[in-house]
Amino acid sequence: MGYGTGILFGAQPSWDARVNYDGTGPVSIDQDAVLMLRVREGDQASFGVLLQRHRRPVFHFLCRMVQNQAVAEELAQEVFLRVYRSRSTYEPTAKFTTWLFRIATRLALNSLRDGKKEKLQDSLEEETPDGTSRQLPDRGRTIEQEMMYQARLREVREAIEELPAKQRAAVLMHKYDDMEYSQIARVLRCSDSAVKSLLFRAYESLRFALAHLV
């Protein structure tokens, strides 16, 4: 699922000073920012819409960042709790998703720094929280192919885990959330060129780490 739509809403005093509104073409409205403004006015239903819309991408991002489902859920809850807490002072000075992922990234980086990560035990059959085992989708693979596939997946996850935290965040936002360099830069509070540098180094490291899988 990607976030390709919407641009800066309005021209307010900057919450993110590096955001520039280049003014090309008519002003587009960030629908999520509109919803958040309604939340600011007391519209709880709009918060529900935002939650439904963004909880999965945020959770998936956090899952891949911290590589622990339980921690990722806890962090995802915290993201939306903070969004809710900030409702009365919300100002749409950046895309809503930029703000959202900024919070998520900050929480993930703090979590990683605090060492709350626990190695996720990977297996062909995983226990879901309700105790039923998760059946992997049948891709027409033999057992041997399936085991190779799982081993490869493990290597991918380990290679991602080896990346410095900010490189990891940049890759995840770029690859799985379809964010452009400029939005990633705003999330990570760095320049576009710094993001490119982060990403290119990350992909280079990943290519090297996974070269033997080719």
Partner: protein, 169 residues
């Protein structure tokens, strides 16, 4: 086409090609280049393989009760807010509902009283007039900010900020 692998920004073209975001003409140019450049073919193949590998990574699903637990936390926080904070919020909402005209008049006052940036030299902080209309920060906020300023002052980021400011000019 200049060989991307010889440029520092080679990865950008490569990544854009693999993710399919190159313009049609750039894509054609790059594919033509690939026919002639072994190094770029290697890098492209490696990036495509990486992309495919990353595509296989499907994370877990959210718990079914995620929303429910979140709302419970929100409700718990809301119910533990001090009564005075609740009264302030309610008063604020009542005010907002009861006097929209006052808000519009206040905004009109801002229009007439507004002095744009750069028209007034900075006094202590800031260069713009603030139409606060009698409302200022809570004194506790000011206290807290002053404490922060005092602590931050120890770091002496002045030289750092100066060079950052110079870069922006």
């Amino acid at each position: 086409m200049e060989c991307p692998s010889k440029r520092e920004d080679s990865s950008e073209v490569l990544i854009s090609y693999v993710e399919g975001s190159l313009s049609p003409s750039a894509q054609i140019a790059f594919e033509r280049h690939l026919e002639a450049c072994g190094r770029c073919r290697e890098l492209t193949a490696a990036q495509q393989e990486l992309w495919a590998a990353l595509d296989t990574w499907a994370p877990a699903e959210l718990s079914a009760d995620f929303n429910e637990r979140l709302y419970e936390r929100i409700a718990s926080e809301e119910s533990s807010r001090p009564k005075w904070a609740e009264r302030l919020t309610k008063a604020g909402l009542a005010w907002q509902q009861a006097v929209p005209v006052v808000a519009a008049c206040a905004a009109l006052m801002v229009v007439f009283l507004w002095r744009g940036p750069g028209t007034e030299p900075g006094v202590y902080f800031g260069e713009e007039a603030v139409a606060s209309q009698g409302r200022g920060p809570q004194i506790e906020q000011v206290e807290s900010a002053l404490e922060d300023f005092e602590m931050l002052g120890q770091l002496d980021f002045r030289s750092v900020a100066e060079s950052a400011l110079r870069k922006k000019i």
